[in-house]
Amino acid sequence: MTGQYRENAEGVDVRYVANLARLDLTDEEVELFQGQLENILGYVEQLQELNVDGIEPTAHAISVDNVFRRDEALLFEGAENIPKNFPAENQQLVSVPKIIE
């Protein structure tokens, strides 16, 4: 069923994209995803067939504007449980290896 679809001629630079997404991939994964992604993108190509001139994109499933909240400060009651989830902590800060800029 899947072989019918035209493959994306350019090929996906999987490593580059994975870098953007902060994903370390093994060579096997790169190879696996390369083929599968090109297959999927080949399938997605069919969207190019359609004439979408003058069509507004659907940014939201519902059309509502101006959803606001009032400027009031409230203490989050579970705040003391947040540090319990820190993988590493130092002086109430989330501890990470030194950030070198």
Binding site: L20, D65, D71, G78, N90, Q92, L93, P97
Partner: protein, 478 residues
Amino acid sequence: MISEEELEATIGLETHVQLNTRSKIWCACSTTFGAPPNTNVCPVCMGYPGALPVLNENAVRLTVIAGLALGCEINLRSKHDRKSYFYPDMPKNYQITQYDQPLCLGGQVVYSLDGVERVVRLNRIHLEEDVGKNTHFENSSGVDYNRAGTPLMEIVTEADLHSAEEAFAYLQALKEILSYAGVSHCNLEEGNMRCDVNISVAPKGSDKLGVKTELKNMNTFRGVRDAATYEIKRQKREVSVGGTIQQTTIRWDDTTGKTSAMRSKEYAHDYRYFPDPDLMPIVLTDEEVDALRSALPEMPAQRRERYVQELGLPAYDADVLVADREISDFFEQTATLCGNAKSASNFLMGDMMRMLNDQERSINSVAISPESLAELIKLFDAKKVNNQGAKEVFEVLFEKGGDALEIAKELGKIQTSDTGSIEPFVAQVIEEHPGPVSDYQGGKDAALQFLVGQVMRLSRGKANPQVVGDLFKDKLGT
């Protein structure tokens, strides 16, 4: 080869300004500065699973006010977008910002440098969120998310600045306007204003800009000026000897007084902007914007005008007072209460600003109030205290507050100008010192000082020396 003199610098500034809302932009956590780390946090500003943003209406309102104060066009339809990049201080690893439909477009800042008025055009102002704060230790770093989610306005200039001095003057003018507009505390120590500075050089008259370097997150204006000064010189020197400028982010080292390139990023910045599906568009009406426009507080330029035209102050006084909104507010209240704008100005520009600067304090930390200063000024204007006396009373009021008259009395600074009570002393001195009297009548002005001094002694310093002098002049017929 091109010489350094033939090169001109161009600077663009992106200033991030924290809005003075009570709560954060997407959640109800408090924005109060200085809380213990990671206490003003919740699932939303910590980027927890399942958390969702809801927009603080006051953040929108303040951004529109800032836009109006800066002469921007307000975009009636705007929205928020996700800007993706990974960093430990980013709770969601995307920042919610405004990409192609910001709240404000255009605008300008008028500032003066060396007596000349200049204009910097603004490109836009948009509303986004602040990130957490990193602290660096010797072998690790720590992140505090109290600041994450604070509403931030990003104010972007066009490439209209051409020197470090201009950049400095622009920032001061911008701070003044934002402070008057009431949208931010503009407190640099608390990080309320931080700048990214883009610097490039190109041959004078060229319509193409050179390669730019970017200085990020500068939190003092002085730092911006010093770093830009250095960087411009560096770039000009480099280009003039045939070198090229690398487009990098640079850091400023205050201690060495130099800029240096930061480690080049391993990953390209592809921010992958797209409209945030969790947030609905912002739609404003002309009526709402007009209402905010009419309610704009008086801006510095207007206030300066008013001080000169209506209060009769010299332009110099107006400039000094208006530069700091809190000082000028204090001045106005005082002037209204004591009825003498010039006197109020003198005291503010003189004793007040001197003591504030000496002690590195801001005017809202001092004990003296417009009411007590006005009382002191009335006493001074009525010649009940003299210059020296007023200064001493002021110093006590500044530190401890209190009632001007009471303090003047306690310090023994009340002088009398009542001729009726001084005359007897004058008569007494004339009788007791015939020598100096005839000296004075003979043309020796110095003798008057002696005679006045005698009355001051008799009156235990309470007589107004000027009145004493006048009485002597009267009686001795000169």
